[in-house]
């Protein structure tokens, strides 16, 4: 059983998704319970996998259809033909993030998304999102990667337009769908280039044999650019604000995680597929790193400046998501640049820290941004609008939400003792060694972030109590509060004990991404 966990983690939600309509026939509560159970079990499985990974040290490989799941090479062949899952530190790190976020989002949406005939689809789509994320994080097979990305995209775009009665939701969903479709088709072309040349989809195998032909380089562009686009990095970020702001709040939280799954794709492909520091015929790490850095800094800056002028609370947060993605790119980019440093002294000194900061930030961001989006859901619930100018005085009534918002806002601004600080300080201190100016920019962007969240805080939470503008005056459902509470707890806990997270999750993740030198 335990050795089948990798595939189970993907199939359980997948089958749950198909079973749910049947269960729903009995009672919608039964469906809710089943869905919760499924997602919970995925969480448990991921945790178990993580434990096993840390025990064994080496990546877990799971081959579908072989006599034993660990049998990689079929007899008589020197390259793998079977579909293979490979779980290293980075995969499990991402899987943990995705699983937790989807769990919390689901709990939040149990009551938040009103119970109507379409709720069924909602649950199913959320399940499929989980499947997509976990799948592409676990797979070691390019084609599977594409398939899971498609699952993720389709389910996400459907969810974005879930509130179809709003004017822009279908539009946003459509936009997201189009972008995803374009992105995945390019990805597919890239994959085709590989298959045509090397006859395999297996990432690990390809990594060994890649020759960096012109075609490979084109493939690189065809594969990395669409993924960066789906991750919401500048300059292909235009879908983010629409999709994030139109989706229901819990979906947005999950969407953040979905974007990060794409970011995972970027990193995975550039490192595990293209990156080959040992051979001479390799990708120019220096250039790649700088591209990532520039993208990161641009994302940071453009995101935050756009956010500053927003009045729509969710759009504002969406732009911050872009901006925060910049931090991850910056951290990882710096790590990449110095990775090729002769002798690896610089990498040892701070490149690894930068990388760790960037990757740690992924998880942190998923949690605090999730938290923020969940609180924005409460705002929308209360005021029936996303326009900050039409909100006021929420702190008078929703104390817990306010606290959660404060925690999230401080975390995203990188204020101690919240988790944003833990990763940002790693980024600052290491990036600073690389280039002080970048560190100053990063710090300044944080201050701007803070300023813009102060604006939200002032606009929505403070001001006089005004009962007239409240649309829904009921106390928050316990599930909503609980969901925010979980994130809030995580945000604080990871900020207070960053050492443990770094040691048990982030370091293996970095090790998984770049083989140690």
């Amino acid at each position: 059983m335990i050795e089948h966990l990798p595939i189970l983690a993907i199939t359980v939600p997948l089958f749950a998704a198909f079973l749910l309509p049947i269960i729903e026939k009995a009672h919608f509560r039964a469906r809710n319970a089943a869905a919760l159970l499924a997602i919970l079990s995925v969480n448990v499985m991921v945790v178990l996998l993580a434990l096993r990974l840390s025990r064994e040290g080496a990546p877990l490989v799971y081959v579908l259809g072989a006599q034993s799941p660990a049998q990689i090479l079929p007899q008589g062949l020197d390259f793998p033909i079977r579909i293979m899952l490979k779980i290293d530190g980075f995969s499990i790190f991402m899987a943990l993030t995705s699983a937790v976020v989807v769990l919390v989002s689901y709990v939040y949406s149990m009551k938040y998304v009103p119970e109507d005939p379409r709720k069924n689809y909602y649950t199913i789509l959320l399940m499929l999102m989980l499947v997509g994320m976990l799948g592409l994080e676990f797979t070691n097979d390019l084609f599977n990667f594409f398939v899971f990305l498609e699952i993720l995209s389709i389910s996400s775009s459907a969810l974005v337009s879930y509130s179809y009665n709003r004017k822009f939701s279908p539009y946003a969903g459509y936009k997201y769908m189009m972008i995803s479709a374009v992105a995945t088709s390019f990805l597919l072309i890239g994959i085709a280039f590989f298959y045509s040349q090397y006859g395999s989809f297996n990432i690990e195998y390809l990594h060994g044999v890649i020759r960096f032909t012109l075609l490979d380089k084109i493939a690189l562009i065809f594969m990395v650019v669409p993924l960066a686009m789906k991750a919401g990095a500048i300059p292909m970020h235009m879908w983010v604000p629409d999709a994030y702001s139109e989706a229901p709040a819990p979906v947005t939280a999950a969407l953040v995680s979905a974007s990060q799954a794409s970011l995972y794709g970027v990193f995975r492909l550039s490192f595990s597929l293209f990156g080959n520091p040992v051979s001479d015929v390799t990708l120019n790490y220096h250039t790649l790193g700088w591209i990532i850095i520039v993208l990161g800094v641009l994302s940071m800056f453009v995101g935050v400046t756009m956010a500053l002028v927003q009045h729509d609370v969710k759009r504002l947060m969406a732009y911050h998501a872009i901006s925060q993605t910049g931090y991850m790119l910056l951290g990882v980019g710096v790590g990449v640049v110095v990775y090729m440093d002769p002798g690896g002294a610089a990498y040892a000194a701070f490149g690894r820290d930068a990388m760790m900061g960037g990757i740690f930030h992924i998880m942190n961001h998923a949690f605090y941004k999730g938290l923020l989006f969940l609180t924005s859901g409460v705002m929308v619930l209360r005021f029936g609008t996303r326009d900050l100018n039409k909100m006021m005085g929420m702190a008078h009534r929703d104390t817990f939400t306010t606290l959660c918002f404060i925690a999230g806002a401080l975390a995203i601004s990188g204020v101690p003792p919240f988790n944003g600080f833990a990763s940002k300080i790693l980024i600052y201190e290491s990036v600073y060694r690389f280039s002080p100016i970048l560190a100053i920019i990063a710090m300044f962007v944080s201050v701007l972030t803070l300023a813009s969240f102060l604006k939200v805080f002032y606009g929505a939470f403070l001001g006089p109590r005004n009962e007239d503008i409240i649309v829904i005056d009921e106390p928050l459902p316990a599930t909503v509060t609980a969901a925010m509470g979980v994130f809030c707890f995580l945000v604080l806990a990871m900020g207070l004990f960053p050492g443990e997270v770094l040691k048990y999750l982030v370091e293996p993740a970095v090790a998984g991404l770049v083989p140690g030198r």
Partner: protein, 344 residues
């Protein structure tokens, strides 16, 4: 474990001392300001009297305010400034004492940058929460100040850290301990000294902004927006802000001293005071430290606030974002180029 307890006890002691010292220095500040203005001025203990009075006054929570944020903000401000004080002073004391403790690797400059922001954030939150238009304007101004000060401040910190990373061979360039044990001036050529001077100048301008004194007290401008941020505060909460302000001023001037004038007594004279077998240099060092803090306080806060008019918020922002940022970058460049040029 035992060590941790000692550190905690020590920190608490430090905090009490810090509050006391902060208020006392505020008294000196007011006295000196009066002297600068050809007046006799209030008694040295006036800040204590003020505090004592505020503690017994009625505390009014305005009806329009978000009461729990309104109440929480001053508490948070004091708590964070206290942490800041401990965070700045403790490593330095360890350095002076020449011993080591669990906080040694702490005292990180970037953490300090962020800790400096928290009191300002709580002030802003409190101001926004008080529901008065004056406080709102004040809070908006505080946001602007907070943002614009951060740039030159960050550049100064980075410049210092760069120098440290050169001096200390790359070990903990952001640690206050490194900064304290490698005074920035050592091994500098004339250009470096000039650059350091520019950094000192920048930080001098940042001090009143961080502590909300003229010419950067826009957020509390009495004649413009009726004490702004603090317009609605009274009684105990006002007292807490007063305390937080005193502690923050102390902590920031202490940071100034540690960054630029960390020299202990022995560093300066080469002597150690040994009386009857006991080494009393440490006591002298602390005294010297306090004196340095008072001098910095007088020059950077008292003298500046009596010699200048309040700037407009747009002017202040421009000053920090452009003039002082340029100045500090120039300082950084000079320090950066110094070894290269002097080496030639």
């Amino acid at each position: 474990m035992r060590e941790l307890l000692i550190v905690i006890a020590f920190s608490l002691g430090l905090l009490v001392l810090g509050i006391f010292l902060g208020l006392f220095i505020r008294g000196i500040d007011r006295k000196f300001a009066a002297y600068f203005q050809s007046r006799v001025g209030p008694p040295l203990l006036q800040p204590f009297y003020d505090l004592e009075k505020l503690m017994i006054k009625q505390t009014i929570i305005p009806e329009n305010s978000v009461s729990w944020i309104f109440r929480g903000a001053p508490v948070l401000a004091l708590a964070s400034t206290s942490v800041l004080l401990i965070y700045v002073v403790l490593p330095y004391l360890y350095y002076l004492h020449g011993s080591s403790g669990p906080f040694l690797t702490a005292g990180d400059l970037i953490v300090i940058l962020y800790l400096l922001m928290i009191p300002a954030i709580s002030l802003i939150a409190g101001g926004f929460a008080s529901g008065s238009p004056y406080a709102t304007v004040g809070a908006q101004r505080e946001v602007v100040i907070l943002m614009s000060v951060e740039v030159p401040l960050a550049i100064v910190v980075i410049a210092v850290a760069w120098k440290m990373s050169q001096a200390a061979g790359g070990a903990h360039p952001f640690s206050l301990l490194t900064v304290a044990s490698n005074p920035i001036w050592t091994g500098m050529g004339p250009m470096g000294i000039l650059g350091g001077g520019l950094l000192v100048l920048t930080l001098m301008a940042v001090v009143p902004a961080e502590t909300g004194k003229v010419p950067f007290d826009q957020a509390e401008a009495e004649t413009e927006i009726a004490e702004g941020l603090l317009a609605e505060y009274s009684g105990k909460y006002l007292a807490l802000y007063g305390l937080a302000d005193a502690v923050k001023s102390l902590a920031f001037t202490a940071l100034f001293v540690v960054l630029f004038f960390p020299h202990g007594f022995t560093d300066l004279t080469g002597f150690r005071i040994v009386i009857a077998g006991g080494d009393y240099t440490f006591a002298l060092d602390i005294l010297l430290f306090i004196v340095k803090v008072i001098i910095v306080y007088t020059v950077a806060i008292t003298a500046v606030r009596v010699a200048m008019a309040r700037l407009k918020i747009s002017q202040a922002a421009k000053l920090f974002l452009i003039t002082l940022s340029m100045l500090s970058i120039a300082g950084y460049l000079l320090i950066y180029l110094d070894p290269r040029i002097s080496g030639l």
